[in-house]
Assembly symmetry: D2
Homo-oligomer: 397 residues x 4
């Protein structure tokens, strides 16, 4: 059975690695390294196979998908396939390119505005939603899909202040009709997906479906959603180290983390209006794991020469017995897209499983994938992961 995967930011780094990697795996040219869903423990979960995935999406930049894919893989230093496959991959990407539509660009922030050149012209919020919904329906019809999973991989939007109209579906509908919902694109996309019974997964820290009105919409239409902000690197490490310090009852005095990165994501985050959204997402989990709030700082800076690479340096200052002050430092050097892409495909598989099971509303079982999981207090990776296993295998909590 086929599963539609609809990517917002479909020509961005993560999306390109997701689609190229998917093709390589399906052709048996790459192992499923980095896939949570490929662990033996999930053998009994009857997850949908990658073979049935069909890709489409929205994007704000006019570019050749196969060219940006090739550039991204090069920048990640990934070894190239046999020449025969390169041609096959290019053909596949060209075909997907046909299913990538101009995106909507409401409140996406100055750094995205400055590069967007393929925008769907819409006059109102409601028009934006309708345009997106039409694209989704056309894609489903073309490929004979019953449902799809929309996954937000677009650049981080600036934060927006919550509005009263977000707290119930009725209020939101009224606000949309008045074109004054204040929702950013990520949430309009979410609305469009959920309204049609499709799933919405937010891999970014943008607002997305994080408002009561959209949870209500999901429940009403029998749709599922989840997020937010994929946990791929520094925060992932942080989440297991913080648990270690907690279990050993060592006192964190301060935790300073600095990220430098060079891709489009980094360029956008270099703007303070975009950065604030990201930092909030990265910086909240320590107090939840530790039970107290040491001084923390998270820095993100754009260092262009790094290209697709992200380097993080964390300095952890802690006290032990008799107040003795000690420290741990780590550096993480990763290619974000390579780390994120398998998780995107994992999320698609688990979400499709939830769809098949006719679940509805927020998928809290996916918390291990996210820096800031909606509706979940548990921030410790091991516990989150075990919850995922239980849920996927249909075991009682």
């Amino acid at each position: 059975m086929k599963t539609g995967i609809w990517l917002i930011g479909a020509r961005g780094s993560i999306a390109t690695v997701t689609m190229a990697g998917h093709a390589a795996v399906v052709r048996g040219l790459a192992p499923m390294t980095g896939f949570v869903s490929n662990r033996e423990v999930f053998n009994g979960a009857d997850l949908p196979p990658l073979e049935g995935f069909i890709f489409g999406g929205h994007e704000l930049r006019r570019m050749s998908l196969k060219e940006v894919t090739s550039a991204t893989l090069d920048a990640c230093g990934v070894r190239r396939y046999p020449r025969a496959f390169e041609a096959e991959l290019d053909a596949k990407l060209d075909a997907i390119d046909e299913d990538i539509r101009p995106g909507i660009a409401l409140r996406v922030g100055p750094q995205v505005d400055s590069v967007a050149n393929d925008i769907r012209a819409v006059a109102t919020e409601r028009e934006a939603i309708d345009a997106v919904r039409l694209d989704l329906d056309a894609f489903k019809a073309k490929h004979g899909l019953r449902r799809l999973v929309m996954i937000n991989l677009a650049s981080t939007e600036p934060s927006v202040s919550p509005k009263a109209s977000w707290t119930s579906l009725a209020a939101l509908e009224a606000a949309l009709t008045a074109n004054e919902s204040g929702l950013p694109s990520s949430s309009l996309y979410a609305y469009a997906a959920l309204a049609g019974g499709d799933a919405y997964i937010n891999f970014t820290p943008s607002l997305g479906s994080r408002l009561p009105a959209l949870e209500e919409l999901a429940l009403t239409r029998g749709a599922v959603h989840g997020g937010s902000d994929g946990k791929t690197g520094e925060t992932l490490i942080k989440s297991v180290l913080a648990e270690l310090f907690a279990r050993r009852n060592l006192e964190i005095l301060s935790w300073f983390g600095q990220n430098i990165l060079g891709n489009e994501d980094g360029r956008v985050l270099d703007d303070p209006t975009h950065k604030a959204t990201k930092i909030r997402s990265k910086d909240h989990l320590l107090p939840k794991i530790l039970g107290y709030a040491p001084q923390t700082r998270v820095g993100i800076d754009y260092v262009e020469s790094l290209g697709e690479w992200k380097i993080a340096w964390d300095h952890i200052h802690f006290a032990g017995f008799l107040g003795g002050r000690m420290s741990m430092q780590f550096t993480w050097s990763g290619c974000d897209s390579l780390l994120a892409a398998p998780l995107v495909l994992d999320l698609a598989r688990f979400t499709a499983l939830a769809q098949r099971r006719e679940e509805r509303g927020l998928l809290t079982a996916l918390s291990s994938f996210f820096k800031d999981p909606m509706g979940v207090d548990e921030q410790r990776l091991v516990a989150q992961d075990e919850e995922l296993v239980r849920w996927a295998l249909g075991e009682p909590r």
Copy 2:
């Protein structure tokens, strides 16, 4: 009720911080930072309070306990107490010094031989055991103790080849009678403790009670034992990071760890005959957690200027999706004695709990404390710790 704590290596760095720290905690001058047993979850476990602890031990070096304690605390940069308490602490340590006896020194290795100057003269293995046992009985009688917990904090012994006589108690008894058991001091101490129904905990990678004959002895005499090799720093971090990589299905290509340290422990480990024992203990857990065996190396070098400090540098090389090669590095900078001392006191509390419950034989529930836990395959810290919680609270597995 009083609990006797008998430390092998009683004037070593860990022992001194254990005793000084205990005194400070009991007087309300230091919080229980770094104590596992002080976590809220153990409130229901009815652990013996620190107030009832009485210390004694064996040691091979003639030194003033209060002087080495003061030097160790200084080297760890620990802030000093009010002057009034310093005098009180010195008096306490002088009193404990009275209960520290000359140790036995069979097969302790060249680096220990070279500094030992306070050795109990014994002609045979059996005499060594008897001498130790007499010291323990005298201590118990003097302080009115029913049982005690012996904890091995002595320098790492060279490895010894297993002997057939170690596989059963009967065979071991015969070998001891013939003075050809080949057991190192750590095991003779363990024999002496267990034979009298007392507990033996091995905080070092030396052989200790890790032989079937001594497990049989423990079961026979109603004694408990546990070990081995306290997990305080680099290996502790390794155990949680390895689980992270496993749960994310990232492939570890190689894991290189280098430790530099400057105290007596480091001086002894600098000798290859001693070092091999330690490295084996530090280097075995990755394959167990990962399910495959990447190339690993653990280096230990003595850098005298570091004094009580240990610095570890680990380089983790891993592959992600599409074979992309990434890396993580960490440095750990800790004062080993400050990290170990609360765990020693934790072990004393949990072991005393087992004694009160009339348990016997190997205490596998203590695995989270050890680099190389006897009788336990589980090497993941979180699972080990949760097992400790279950056991301590008397919950079913």
Copy 3:
């Protein structure tokens, strides 16, 4: 012969270590580790000995000098002296405390304003200068000093925009008379010192004597001055590593540096108005050494738990042959006051030498001590240091 050392920020961390360390060296209790002037090569330079130094200064905070000194030394983990010397040191510091006067506080920035509680009340810029000058003259008279060396160790001031009136002494005098020079305190102090023929050395990135009018004043009055911003840690390392990359013709792609620190200096720099001044000083030397301008960033963040310690992490991304991309990272972990204090005393010695030689105007030979040396393009440490040697020994260039 006696030399007066007048410290601005006389109860700050650097000043306290300078004075306590001076006392310890003079009493033979501490070696001259960290002193440039103590290198054998300077034996022939006839530098004034430390024994003749007499300290005084200005400060904006009312505190006990001996108490803050003791706290600073503790925070740096410096080993304490014999008890006998502690009493002697306290007495010395109490005596110096008598010679510390309330400072002036014009344009010192919000973070300094918020803690200043011992301010000399003045109505105009001219009054501020006169008040300072009176304090200096009183100190010289009291101790029978012919000249003194004022050294600015105060918190970094916010940057100020240059004014036309700064370009000549005549224009500046007019502006001062009109009370509209716009000069920050650091420059008013410099004016006061130079006007009386005394030396002014700026160990901070504040404006100080960096304006043509004050150079003119120095030349007119036969005074010397130098600065600015003591080069003690990250920038020092940067200056030698950058030269290495230049000599090996490797191409720096980006250089990212992050500093975290916990003392009063860090607290002040955490405010953006103060921080900008510092970052400009730290970030300009790479293009001068390399001959081209790679992307650079310097971050400074306040991490309170670090106290007197500063940790810097630098990530250097470079290209080698065939465009191969490689990297170097370093972490620097230092106690700034311990690194700065001997340089302050060095600067006092070299400046006093210049005074004895009747030099006047800017002392460019001191460039090796500064992050942003006035009047000097050469940023390579070795060349700067060799210039210092030549000058000190009176050799031709």
Copy 4:
């Protein structure tokens, strides 16, 4: 005019990057990044251009030069050239392959013996020399070369104990005639080159020309030689940092360096008989720069997954004023072959310059290129480099 470059270890990583990189530079496809000789200061030195270089060499392993070159470039992550050039490069390498002869393999050590499969069969030391000399003469004749520069890039040989016969040319000749000189292959190669008036440069820590008898031979035959052990990474950094600490009079307490690497060089060095030679070379410069001998350690370990990459971690422990203990750490992550290849070509250019100037004997001016420069005490990079400049420009010292 053409210059012959004869590489020992001609199919090793450094040699392949040297030859491929040379081809790319000559065709204008790669800039001269990493070349010392390309710095502007050498414009006046009239160095021989790369265009005239002709390559040949000896090698012990039968392999396709173009295939190992391609694998090495891939492993270094170097971006590939236009496809048109790849074919041209392959043709060039095939042509060079014709000029690579089976090497001699006396005392090359167990790790080299185990992979050598293309050995020139010789019965005696003298036969080995003659065989090499014949190859050199044939190469010169074929390409019409007056002189050549032999550069040793072969795997590090085990150390050998000096013999009395090495101290004079006469004694050495007698020992060679008796086939009991005890010289390793690196020295036999050096003899063969120098005997014919050709130059010998030792880029490895093997013995090479480091014996009085060979200096005598060079002087007699009008040949030049230099070495040893190319300074490409960790030691290079060490040499400038150590000078920094010396100029700031900070006291190094200990300096620990650990290298991990994954190529053939690493595989060979993993054997203790080979490793000792290397470590001696890396570990001697600190005392010379500092003027005292802190505790130092240099570790080298083979971590296969790293391939061509070398990671070094150094921990520098130092004392500042008042005995305050601080530290600096650095990690260096480089592709050794990319760093070494331009230096090999630099050495060829500078050596050819010396030949043109009819110099003879040891070229001490090349010290900046070597970890353990023969005949030179100066270990500080800046001073060494300035000496190179002076010599190259023909300026007086």
